[in-house]
Structure formats: structure tokens, C-alpha cells
């Protein structure tokens, strides 16, 4: 390596500090969830598990995590958020892949415009996207609900999948697909047996980030959800103004992180496998 030992040590130290800064606020959240005060004061005058007790059934909760959450509105909003994130990610995967293949394989008028168009939903501030979609949905007479939120989320998640895929397609050796056709495989078969395994990890990386984006999104969601739809971020927001119960959100924050560590780790492991990609 071209870096001196001292440079590497400095960089390592800097990175450790960086991660510490990234996690200190999360530790504050953890401590705050045990703070007896109902108004987020500091330092905690006393510690208490009352907020945890409000959220989780303890002990005696069955293996079903679902039943462990006592607050019904929280359970429902968690379910809604997961549902929306799932559908939005699937849609984004579909549309993003279609667009990525089209742009990579063919040259057509409006190709560069499409790249710009795909980026726009995420590049424009959420409040503008939210306002625009809200007005559009209302004028088209659509009822605001889960579907409209899925549509809105998918729109800005497309670019995540698109970019991951295009980057991978660029690095892929076209010779592999050509070899497959030479050996007599049809387009469909080539895709299934050759292309897909190669792009799978890129799709997964895109899906993971899309899911995270949609799960924690609140601005666009506020404008595109209806009377009976409440996502987790919306529940958290409304709970902050509910008298005497605001600190419950800290408990929820911790729970969500803990629950997502394992799935994210495994998803990340899957994206690391890159058979046949261009080597270093």
C-alpha cells in the first residue's frame, strides 16, 4: 500500500471517531428510553422501565414478536410501513430494472433525459414531490391511502435500483452473455441462467436501500396518505404531540434498530458475492 503507517493509523482513528459520532445520538436515544421524565429532560433524574412497559409485554411474551407489542396503533403502523416499503421496493425493482436495461443496452433519443428524469424524484425536495403528488391524486379523484403512498415511494426509489443496476451492467463482461447465446440459449434463458445471477447482488443492494428509504420516509408520506393510513414515522410524529406519552418513541426507535440488525447484516452479506464481475 502506498500509505505510510502513520497515515493509515490516522485514518483508522478518524474512522473510529466517525462511527462513534454516528452512534452517540443512538445511545442518547437508548438512555432517554429509560428516562423517567415524560419530556425528554437531561440528565435523567431517575431511570425507569415505564416506557418499555408501555410498549412491550414483559414477561410472558410468546415467540411471536407481534404480540409482544402492546400498543395496537403502533403494531398497525409498523405493519403498514412494512407493507408499503415492500410493495414500493418491488415496484422500484421492476421499473428500475426495465429502465436500466433499456438505457444500457440500447441507444435512443431521450436516453440522457431518462437518466435525469429517474434522478429527479429523489433530487427534488420531498415537500415538492409530496405536494405535487397530493394535488395530482386529488384531481384524478383517487382516494389517498396505502396505494398512493406506495406509488409515491416507488417513484423516488426507482433511481436507487436503476443506478445500482447500471453500475453493475457496466462492469459486466458482455462476452458472458454472448457466449450463452452462442451455445444456443434464448434471450429468456440467458437472462435466467447468466445475467440474473450476475446482477442479483446489485438488485439486492438497491432493494435494501429502497426499503430503508421508504420505511423512514415522512414528508412525502404526510401528503399522500389518507384518513386510515398511518405509517410508523407518522405514528411517531403524532405520538410526540400526544400528552404524557412522548418518550415512547425512544423505545420504538431502539426496537426498530435492534430488529433490523440481523436482516440488514444478512442482506449485506448476500450483496457481497459478486461472481463474474470485473476484477480489481
Amino acid at each position: 500500500m502506498f500509505l505510510s503507517r502513520r497515515a493509515r493509523a490516522t485514518l483508522r482513528a478518524f474512522t473510529s471517531v466517525g462511527f462513534a459520532v454516528l452512534y452517540i445520538p443512538l445511545i442518547v436515544v437508548l438512555v432517554a428510553s429509560f428516562n423517567i421524565s415524560n419530556t425528554f429532560t437531561w440528565p435523567p433524574k431517575a431511570l425507569s422501565t415505564q416506557w418499555w412497559g408501555r410498549v412491550l409485554r414483559w414477561p410472558g411474551w410468546t415467540l411471536k414478536i407481534w404480540n409482544a407489542i402492546k400498543i395496537e396503533a403502533l403494531r398497525e403502523s409498523l405493519l403498514t410501513s412494512l407493507k408499503i416499503a415492500l410493495f414500493a421496493t418491488i415496484l422500484a425493482l421492476l421499473l428500475g430494472s426495465l429502465a436500466a436495461f433499456a438505457v444500457h443496452r440500447y441507444s435512443f433519443f431521450g436516453r440522457t433525459t431518462l437518466s435525469l428524469l429517474v434522478v429527479l424524484p429523489i433530487a427534488l425536495p420531498g415537500i415538492v414531490t409530496g405536494l405535487a403528488l397530493n394535488q395530482a391524486f386529488r384531481r384524478l379523484g383517487l382516494d389517498l391511502g396505502v396505494t398512493t403512498v406506495v406509488v409515491a415511494h416507488a417513484t423516488f426509489c426507482i433511481v436507487i435500483v436503476y443506478n445500482n443496476l447500471i453500475a453493475r451492467l457496466k462492469r459486466m463482461q458482455p462476452s458472458l452473455e454472448e457466449a450463452s447465446s452462442d451455445l444456443g440459449a434464448t434471450g429468456m434463458q440467458t437472462f435466467r441462467y447468466v445475467t440474473f445471477p450476475l446482477i442479483r447482488s446489485a438488485l439486492l443492494a438497491g432493494a435494501l436501500l429502497s426499503f430503508a428509504l421508504s420505511f423512514d420516509e415522512i414528508v412525502v408520506t404526510t401528503f399522500t396518505s389518507g384518513a386510515s393510513t398511518q405509517t410508523l414515522p407518522q405514528w411517531i410524529f403524532s405520538n410526540l404531540s400526544r400528552p404524557k406519552q412522548a418518550p415512547v418513541v425512544n423505545v420504538v426507535g431502539v426496537i426498530v434498530i435492534v430488529l433490523s440488525i440481523v436482516p440488514v447484516y444478512f442482506a449485506q452479506r448476500l450483496t457481497d458475492q459478486e461472481p463474474g464481475a470485473a476484477g480489481r
Binding site: 429532560t41 384518513a227 386510515s228 404531540s241
Partner: protein, 410 residues
């Protein structure tokens, strides 16, 4: 292919814009000018011979659901805390499933109501007149709300919840905007709003004010006494000179403000931590902070104060009018009103609610039947151009208040 892409883009744009224009024209002709002259609306509404909109559904049966826009804590059904529930029993009894959308500001509530997706709203006085003027809500058929009779007379048929003697909503409760201060750092209790408008205040940087255009009225309330030459009688009816004076005062205030607040958890926290030591507050915040042993106290200054009274209103586009009426009747009943006003922290509107609160001192603390207290309170109403007196139509409408507020905050 080249032409295809561009054509698709252009067609798409035109199509959407065209549909936007045409579908709105339909909605526009439906609700034109003032509420009294509304002719038709979509859905179950019908027009009566006098030209007013009423909702006259075919039968009295509930529609199975009711969509409500309300403040957080007004409509609790046990899903957030099983002990906090005054709705689920009624839901079962009436067969109307309650869907609540929490509005974070009363202005957001106006916005949501205009979409026509909601049946009932709990609107504050600064929003109710906009709803009434825009024809978004209907005058109530009191035969369907028997509990209305038990409401304090002082809250009935007020400018913010009625037009020409017809009630447009059922009161939920009321509260005043008091002046709170840190007793450790401010030794003598302030008796005038002047302390929050004082450029040389020793509390500089630790003062707070309510973050909404309607707060301009608070400055007017102070000027009514402090500058009698301005001849302010109603803090919501301000002509150019009076308005300019209030705005200037608020710009001075900005220099000493630490934070503007709209969410009371934040401001309670600020007072408890000591980052704010003086400013506008609600009784519920005082109680909360004192309950947490914070050194605070509140006063009603000598100039009086602004206050608010929320109103339950029914949408003119309600898709579930029967359930809507049944809900409003339920929410202003003694039991429900006692429960939700105690939970939220405001004086209840129903006289009989005071016997049903769990804290027997509740009504006393919140001055529920203390008309002498509320005599000096100027309830939030929407400022309109018509001054309502011999000045004519020279007062500043709410749009000007809103613009000014952005400029004040800078």
C-alpha cells in the same frame, strides 16, 4: 423512436394538465362564495329551498364509518394506551368505525377538510371561519345533537362557531394563553405582557412565543392597553396603523426570542431544562412542568390574553353524515367531554363534565365555569377584511397576517 419519446412526454403532460383543469371546474362551481349561499355539493348533501346546504341523508342509519380530523389526544380509542379510551365503546354501540387523522396545526386541518375526505373536524377558532366561509362545513341540525343543550352558554353562538345565529359547530372546550415564567430566575411575578416585548429584557434569548400568525393578536392585546392612542378594541380587527404597530412590536420581540413553539412537549421540555424562562403557555404545560417539579408559575396579565375554543364541525361533503352527527353528539356528552378535556388539558365545554373528571379540582384549575376569568380572554377568530364596525372593510384579512408572520420571523 425519437419522436415517440418526446410525443409521449408532451401527451402525458397535456393529459394530466387537462384533467386537472376540467375536474376542478366541476368542484369549483359546486362551492362558490359564502356558506349561506352554497348551492350544491357532491355526495349526500342536498340543497334546501333557502339555498343553504344541509346534509339530509335518506335514513337515520349509520354508514359504518366516520373519518375525523382532530388534535392529538382528542379522540382516543385505547389503541395507544388501553386506559385512555372514550371512543371504542361508542364505536361498537353505533357501528361507526372511527378513523382519525391527527392534524398538527389548525391550518393543516383546513387543508385536509377541503379535500372532502373527512366528515368531522375539531377546528380552532382561527380556522373555523375559513371553513365556514369556504362552505366546507354545515350549520348543525341541533335535533341530532341533544347534548348540545348542556354546553356552557358562554361558548354557544360565538363569532367563531356560528353565522347569523346558526351554530356551525359544537364546542369542545376552551383555554387561555397564559404567561409562564421561571420562578427561580424571575423573582417577582410579571403582571404585564410587556415583559415579553421588552427589547432590553434580562431574559433575552430565553423568551418564547406561539408560532402561528394568530399570535399577532397577542401583540394587539398588549397594545390595546399600552398604547390606547391606537384605539384597538378587538385584537383580531386591526387596520393598517394598528397592524403595523403590532408587527413592529413583534419584530422587536424576535430579538429576545429563543424559540417559537407549536408543539407543547418541546416547550415544556424547554421550560424544565431552563433554556426558556418566559413566554406564552397553556395551562396544561404549566401543570405538566410543575408536576415534574420545575420551578415555574403562570399568570394572566392585566391586559388580558388571547385564548382558544375548539369546535367540532361537520363537513359539507361528508360521506358519512349520520355517523358524523352521532359522533359529535357523543364527543360533547358529559362523559366523553370530561375524559378528553382532562386528557388534553383544557376546560371542558359541557357543564355536566365537571362532575365526571377523575381529578375533582380539574374544573377549578382550568377555570371551567369561571366566566370572570374568561371575560378578559379574546378567543381566536379568523381576521377578515370587514372590521365589523364603522371603519368598514379596512381591516387586515388572515392572508396578510400570514405574510406578516413570515416577515416577522425573518
Amino acid at each position: 423512436m425519437r419522436k415517440g419519446f418526446t410525443t409521449a412526454a408532451v401527451v402525458g403532460l397535456l393529459a394530466l394538465t387537462a384533467s386537472a383543469c376540467s375536474s376542478d371546474k366541476k368542484a369549483d362551481t359546486a362551492t362558490t362564495t359564502k356558506a349561506a349561499e352554497v348551492t350544491t355539493t357532491a355526495g349526500p348533501a342536498t340543497s334546501s329551498t333557502t339555498g343553504e346546504t344541509t346534509i339530509a341523508p335518506a335514513s337515520d342509519k349509520g354508514e359504518g364509518a366516520v373519518n375525523i380530523v382532530a388534535w392529538a389526544g382528542y379522540v382516543e380509542n385505547g389503541t395507544n394506551d388501553p386506559k385512555v379510551d372514550w371512543t371504542s365503546a361508542w364505536e361498537k354501540e353505533s357501528g361507526c368505525k372511527v378513523n382519525v387523522k391527527i392534524g398538527n396545526t389548525s391550518d393543516e386541518m383546513v387543508q385536509l377538510m377541503t379535500s372532502g375526505e373527512y366528515d368531522v373536524v375539531s377546528a380552532s377558532g382561527d380556522a373555523t371561519q375559513r371553513l365556514m366561509a369556504g362552505g366546507e362545513v354545515v350549520p348543525l341540525d341541533l335535533t341530532k345533537i341533544p347534548n348540545y343543550a348542556d354546553i356552557f352558554d358562554a361558548l354557544k353562538l360565538k363569532p367563531w362557531n356560528s353565522i347569523d345565529g346558526k351554530p356551525y359547530g359544537a364546542p369542545q372546550g376552551r383555554g387561555a394563553n397564559l404567561l409562564m415564567y421561571n420562578t427561580d430566575l424571575i423573582k417577582t411575578a410579571p403582571d404585564s405582557w410587556g415583559v415579553v416585548f421588552d427589547a432590553a429584557s434580562p431574559s433575552k434569548g430565553k423568551v418564547t412565543a406561539y408560532d402561528a400568525p394568530i399570535y399577532i393578536a397577542d401583540a394587539a392585546v398588549y397594545l390595546k392597553t399600552a398604547k390606547p392612542e391606537l384605539k384597538i378594541t378587538n385584537p383580531y380587527e386591526l387596520d393598517d396603523k394598528q397592524f403595523a404597530a403590532a408587527v413592529d412590536l413583534l419584530k422587536v420581540q424576535k430579538g429576545i426570542v429563543g424559540e417559537y413553539w407549536s408543539d407543547y412537549t418541546k416547550t415544556q421540555q424547554a421550560f424544565e431544562q431552563g433554556s426558556i424562562i418566559l413566554g406564552t403557555t397553556w395551562q396544561v404545560i404549566v401543570n405538566g412542568a410543575q408536576g415534574n417539579k420545575a420551578p415555574v408559575a403562570a399568570v394572566l396579565p392585566k391586559e388580558g390574553a388571547t385564548g382558544w375554543s375548539d369546535t367540532w364541525m361537520i363537513s359539507s361533503k361528508a360521506k358519512h353524515p349520520n355517523c358524523a352527527y352521532q359522533f359529535v353528539n357523543h364527543i360533547v356528552s358529559p362523559a366523553a367531554n370530561a375524559a378528553n378535556s382532562e386528557y388534553f388539558g383544557e376546560a371542558p365545554a359541557n357543564k355536566k363534565a365537571c362532575d365526571l373528571t377523575s381529578d375533582k379540582e380539574f374544573c377549578k384549575t382550568f377555570h371551567a365555569d369561571d366566566e370572570a376569568f374568561f371575560k378578559n380572554i379574546y378567543y381566536w377568530t379568523t381576521p377578515v377584511a370587514d372590521c365589523g364596525d364603522d371603519r368598514g372593510k379596512v381591516c387586515k384579512p388572515f392572508a396578510d397576517w400570514e405574510k406578516a408572520w413570515t416577515e416577522i420571523k425573518g
